[in-house]
Amino acid sequence: MEFIELKDMSHVYYSGMKNEYKALDQINLSVRQGEFVAVIGTNGSGKSTLAKHLNAILLPSSGRCLIRGMDTREEENLWQIRQEVGMVFQNPDNQIIAAVVEEDVAFGVENLGVESSQIRTRVMEALRAVGMEHYRKFAPHLLSGGQKQRIAIAGALAMQTKCLVLDEPTAMLDPIGRREVLSTVKKLHEERGITVVYITHFMEEAVKADRVVVMEKGRICFEGTPAAVFTQVARLEKLGLDVPLAAKVADRLRRKGMKLPAEILSDEELAVALCR
């Protein structure tokens, strides 16, 4: 059984009203347990809407969304789904509830009704997993954007979530913060086998995934490994998306007549290819 299965799923906002708007159109997508999937697309492509279906914040207008076989439309599944799928949102401030870091990380665990003595253990473990254990008594407004997002991740980990969905977690961060968040997520994926769905428009982040899904106007355009996707330079540029620099340079060189191997993504790969 796949961890996430979207079957012919569509989502319409303001259905029946004047400004009715189809944000998702017949989406079919599967994510295996332990997979790291990046979803890219411009603003308006529907990627955020898609993310919100994964923990049943939104329900499909048609089609189905199954999390470990549980249909999101069945109300009795709701809390189980939300415990198994943790979400990190774009705005670091607007997902921190408590005035002290460790209290915020405990929030989700407390909602699950876990026994008091257990909660602290989980909180400490989660903070250690994201490297923020020394900040447990800090007030959130003293933290950097990257640190706040790591707290949000810890909050999900403490709930023993099996899947992290991150909706443009680095859009509001500086380069240092972006690196912090991505390396934390990558580490958790490698060490704990957590399934990751990572929504972004920074291709240097998408490049680290196992699989990249490209969305446009509510549909999945195409998908594949980062190498397969990002070497389709012309197609991505037409969609208004960015491409890793080395891939872009390689593409231009090929058009000038140079012979280069098909899948070049990183600077090193290009350098090696040029020196053959």
Binding site: M172, D267, E268
Partner: protein, 287 residues
């Protein structure tokens, strides 16, 4: 024609336990005919520095001159000088408040007490510049627009002041690649066609490489680089010590050069880099 800072030092909350020097003896000159980029890590003093350019902050020590006028003296000439510097903050769409796009953009010009016909002219021009159709959007509520459109309304609101200088703090933050590219193209247009002195505060060295004539690098409240873009990007050590990275294009060329292909690494723009690699690869028989 310039904005000049002379020995500017700024200390937050002096004489308290929270005292912090955000700027230390900064002396720089921002020329109207240059596209200046101010770069530095978070906390280096960038935001503090730019808030001195239009008098939002008064230096603890030192002076700020706009076109020769000290803007921190309490005289009408100082006020007029301050008004020549427009400022766009991060996420400028968060400052929108009026009932209609027209009224919000008109806020600035109306504060300048201009005649209503002049206000309308300026609003039209500003909306045209940010590609928002005047007739279609002027009566819209700004809050019914998309995020990208709201940002354009906010920027139009500052452009309508017709400043001589425009300071922008991370104007592309949160935009997708297409929006990012479009906005930077507009800034370049403003500088080249409207002859406005642009000051861009950014983390993104690639943007800076593409657009800036002059680069000012701040590290821990001091200016460590203040030179033409080309000269600035050669200072790899200083840039990395300041917590930033050199343009991706330059890093790529360095990697290629290390691998053995003799390519000119003194290049910071994409097209030139492609050309440099092409020529180098053609010429070399082996690495």
């Amino acid at each position: 024609m310039s904005i000049e800072l002379k020995n500017v030092t700024y200390t937050y909350m002096p004489r308290t336990p929270f005292e912090r020097t955000a700027l230390h003896e900064v002396s720089i000159c921002i020329k109207k005919d240059e596209f200046t980029a101010i770069v530095g890590h978070t906390g280096s003093g960038k935001s503090t520095l730019v808030q001195h350019l239009n008098g939002l902050l008064l230096p603890t020590n030192g002076q700020v001159f706009v076109e020769g006028t000290d803007i921190n003296k309490k005289e009408p000439a100082a006020l007029a000088a301050k008004r020549r510097v427009g400022m766009v903050f991060q996420y400028p769409e968060h400052q929108l408040f009026e009932e209609s796009v027209y009224k919000d953009i008109a806020f600035g010009p109306r504060n300048m007490e201009l005649a209503e016909e002049e206000v309308e002219r300026r609003v039209r021009k500003a909306m045209e510049f940010v590609n928002l159709d005047y007739e279609e959007y002027k009566e819209h509520s700004p809050f019914q627009l998309s995020g990208g459109q709201m940002r354009r309304v906010a920027i139009a609101g500052v452009i309508a002041l017709q400043p001589d200088y425009l300071v922008l703090d991370e104007p592309t933050a949160g935009l997708d690649p297409r929006g990012h590219k479009d906005l930077l193209a507009k800034l370049s247009q403003l500088h080249k066609q409207e002859k406005i002195g642009i000051v861009l505060v950014s983390h993104n060295m690639d943007d800076v490489a593409r657009l800036a004539d002059r680069v000012i690098l701040l590290n821990q409240s001091r200016v460590v680089i203040n030179s033409s873009a080309k000269t600035a990007f050669r200072e790899t050590k200083k840039i990395r010590a300041a917590g930033l990275d050199i343009p991706q294009v330059t890093a790529l060329l360095q990697t290629i050069s290390e691998q053995g292909l003799a390519v000119d690494t003194d290049v910071f723009q994409f097209d030139e880099a492609v050309e440099a690699i092409f020529q180098a690869a053609k010429g070399a028989k082996s690495c």
